[in-house]
């Protein structure tokens, strides 16, 4: 095939080989280091139909960038034009080459079609002109995205981003290679068009311009194509070592996620997929309360993943992982749906190994079991003991509906273990969980209700109890819906604060709102549900001092006070405590509002 080869295709081919080789090697290594549970889940689900939703999600997120589009139309357009546009450029190029060379062709023909086409093959397949114009249109589409990306580098606000990521040198070099690919392609095709008169509307026009200023000659043409090929080769060979590894990795990650694989407390191959699937888009930075209120801009998810993945930055991983409220705001914002808090916890667990304990909580062995047959268990939680109004209100509610209950931690609280786990004390947290599980199982209680969202998330996700676990807002909502509890509506105007652990942590947004609508007038705030602001007193961050926490709290308070409520409602003792000192406005837990609004004699 003498006519379909030229020296300049070598850099491109070398790049593709390097990319393929390194990617396969990396993926193979990562898949082999999945842990036992993850392997079992994959084996169990690999022959199911779950690859269908995975393909759909990979198309929607990998190419169309749907979640980013929902955040900002322009930003979505930028990512889509580069990803989907380039994808189409390759696919349509391959179809075009296939039609032009029905007897087969080397694979680079899809990329360098315009250079080889005029010489070795006359344009005689049907709709050749259509394809040429389509390819030009697609190139224009990609170039429009590239212009937006360059614009974003100068001024990112119109694309919905206040701050963008500070990239490593490797990422910047790779981006330079990527950015030079498309202008070089336009240039090469235009020069070829100037000489041979082939191509679609765009390159023919540009070729005419080049011709008229007299720069379309074979030597220049060859140089342009060589540069184009070098840009491609450079990009492909740097890709596995840069953030652009996310292009392929995200597809794998989506597939594994659809199979049901999730992250564990140790770094596994799955974590490696997550690390590489981060495109370092920096969307996690803007929402982070540490950035918004304290101006700390180098500890967000993107920098954490970067520091774990990058050998040179690895010493930063430890302090970065510690400096986080674990409010999950970045997890809600992440367009790749990475489980950033779990990865952060992995780093914390690794760091705490040096001060891991062996004896721990032997004193808990003396706690006596309790027989609670026919009752439900109520776990106030450590924090609820500091807001006794909440636990008292819950007791009033239980009595109003005639529910027999066992107040599990009335005198002595065994912590649920989540605060320990968040700080990276995995084994100690396990010990507390084991003791609490033993207590609950032995009591034979039929249901567990807790007033603290931290405990709730722990009981729900980490305990694997066989009885239903409910937060008290869920429980009250259930009572109201089933008619066991009748509530009157008072004239309070209330704005509701979504606790991080209850909302983003467990997805409980509607139940508290239902209850509040039944008892008060619920107002809308700017940042609610997934976007709610952390109260700052979360136990996640061991480094913030009181003044910093207060600044975060004040921002959340201002958001709640914006619609001029006369009461702030929340569903977490910690948030209640945080807001109580913030202003003269009363702060009530939903349980308190309900307890004050029970219609007497409603119990059945």
């Amino acid at each position: 095939m003498k006519d379909s080869f030229s020296i300049f295709v070598i850099p491109f081919c070398a790049g593709v080989l390097v990319l393929l080789g390194i990617s396969v090697w990396k993926y193979w290594r990562w898949i082999r280091s999945f842990d036992k549970l993850q392997r079992a889940i994959i084996r169990k689900n690999i022959w199911s139909w779950r690859f269908l939703p995975a393909i759909w999600e990979a198309f929607r997120e990998g190419l169309l960038h749907w979640r980013i589009t929902k955040k900002n139309l322009l930003l979505g357009y930028m990512h889509r034009s580069l990803a989907f546009g380039w994808f189409l450029l390759i696919v349509v190029g391959a179809v075009q080459a296939r039609l032009a060379y029905p007897d087969g062709h080397p694979f680079w023909m899809a990329i360098f079609y315009n250079y080889f086409e005029p010489e070795c093959h006359p344009v005689d397949f049907p709709r050749a002109a259509f394809f040429a114009n389509l390819m030009d249109g697609l190139l224009l589409y990609v170039l429009s995205g590239l212009m937006l990306a360059m614009f974003k580098k100068v001024w990112s606000r119109p694309l919905g981003m206040k701050r963008t990521t500070r990239h490593t040198l490797m990422d910047r070099v790779t981006k330079l290679a990527l950015w030079s690919i498309f202008p070089l392609r336009l240039l090469s095709e235009a020069v070829t068009a100037g000489i041979n008169g082939n191509g679609g509307f765009l390159v023919t026009w540009l070729g005419g311009v080049f011709d008229s200023i007299g720069i379309s000659n074979p030597a220049f043409e060859y140089t342009c194509w060589m540069l184009y090929s070098v840009a491609l080769g450079t990009f492909f060979s740097l890709m596995p070592f840069s953030r652009y590894m996310h292009i392929f990795t995200e597809v794998f990650l989506i597939y594994f996620r659809q199979l049901g694989v999730h992250d564990s407390n140790k770094k596994t191959g799955y974590t490696m997929f997550e690390l590489s699937a981060c495109s370092r888009c920096g969307i996690c930075i803007d929402g982070c309360p540490l950035n918004r209120e304290l101006g700390i801009t180098n500890v967000q998810g993107v920098y954490m993943l970067q520091s774990i993945r990058n050998l040179e930055l690895q010493r930063n991983a430890e302090p970065i992982a510690e400096n986080c409220l674990m409010c999950d705001r970045c997890v809600a914002d992440c367009p790749v749906n990475l489980d950033l808090s779990v990865i952060r916890r992995q780093v914390r667990i690794k760091n705490k190994a040096a001060i891991d304990t062996k004896q721990g909580y032997s004193y808990l062995n003396d706690v006596q079991p309790f027989n609670a047959i026919g009752r439900i268990a109520y776990f106030g939680g450590c924090m609820s003991h500091l807001t006794p109004d909440i636990t008292r209100s819950m007791e009033i509610i239980f009595e109003a509906v005639g529910q027999k209950y066992w107040y599990m931690d009335k005198d002595q609280t065994i912590c649920c273990g989540r605060p320990l786990l968040q700080q990276g004390f995995e084994r100690q947290a396990f010990e507390l969980r084991r003791k609490n599980t033993e207590m609950i199982v032995n009591s034979k209680a039929t249901m567990l209700i807790t007033s603290c969202p931290i405990c709730y998330q722990s009981f729900k996700k980490e305990y694997h109890l066989s009885i239903p676990v409910m937060h008290h807002t869920e429980y009250i909502d259930m009572l109201v819906k089933s008619g066991r509890l009748k509530l009157r509506k008072d004239d309070r105007r209330v704005s509701y604060h979504d606790p991080c652990e209850l909302g983003r942590g467990c997805g409980i947004y509607d139940e508290p709102r239902n209850v509040l609508r039944a008892t008060t007038t619920l107002l809308k705030t700017d940042q609610e549900r997934e976007k709610s602001l952390c109260c700052g007193f979360n136990l996640g961050n061991p480094l913030l001092d009181l003044e910093q926490q207060t600044r975060i709290r004040d921002a959340a308070r201002d958001n709640l006070l914006a619609p001029h409520p006369d009461t702030i409602a929340t569903a977490c003792p910690m948030c209640k405590k945080a807001f109580t000192h913030a202003d003269n406005i009363p702060v009530k837990d939903i349980a308190e509002i309900v307890a004050a609004n029970i219609i007497e004699g409603s119990a059945q």
Partner: protein
């Protein structure tokens, strides 16, 4: 030695030579809010672990400052890090961080990257 009917418990005796100044300065560096402590004992009164044992943050803090390091780490391990003490403290001392970092110092874990708010940034 003549028995006078009373003894000195070695665990309770304060030996000023045992005090390691660098431990205290390291702790202050890691948990700057620690210097605001007025020793009111609110943390101890509310402590979840204190309801089961004689775990006493104030006592531990005193022992640490006086150089009574013996058995201190074992004592510290009883903490469940539940964070009640944080909310009770009238001075805003980061008590949980205090406990974790005391353990770091006692275990000799190099943690020079943990410098309160200057951590990073």
């Amino acid at each position: 030695m003549k028995n006078f009917g009373f003894t000195i418990s070695t665990g309770r005796s304060i030996n000023l030579d045992e005090i390691r100044e660098e431990n205290i300065s390291k702790l202050l560096e890691m948990v700057p809010s620690y210097k605001w402590c007025i020793g009111c004992g609110g943390c101890t009164a509310t402590c979840s672990a204190g309801a089961f044992t004689n775990f006493n943050i104030r006592k531990i803090h005193n022992s640490f400052v006086r150089g009574q390091y013996q058995g201190l780490d074992k004592e510290l391990q009883q903490c469940m890090l539940c964070g009640k003490c944080l909310l009770v403290c009238p001075r805003g001392v980061n008590t949980r961080s205090l406990i974790v970092n005391m353990r770091r110092i006692l275990a000799g874990v190099e943690a020079n990257t943990f410098k309160g708010k200057e951590v990073i940034q």
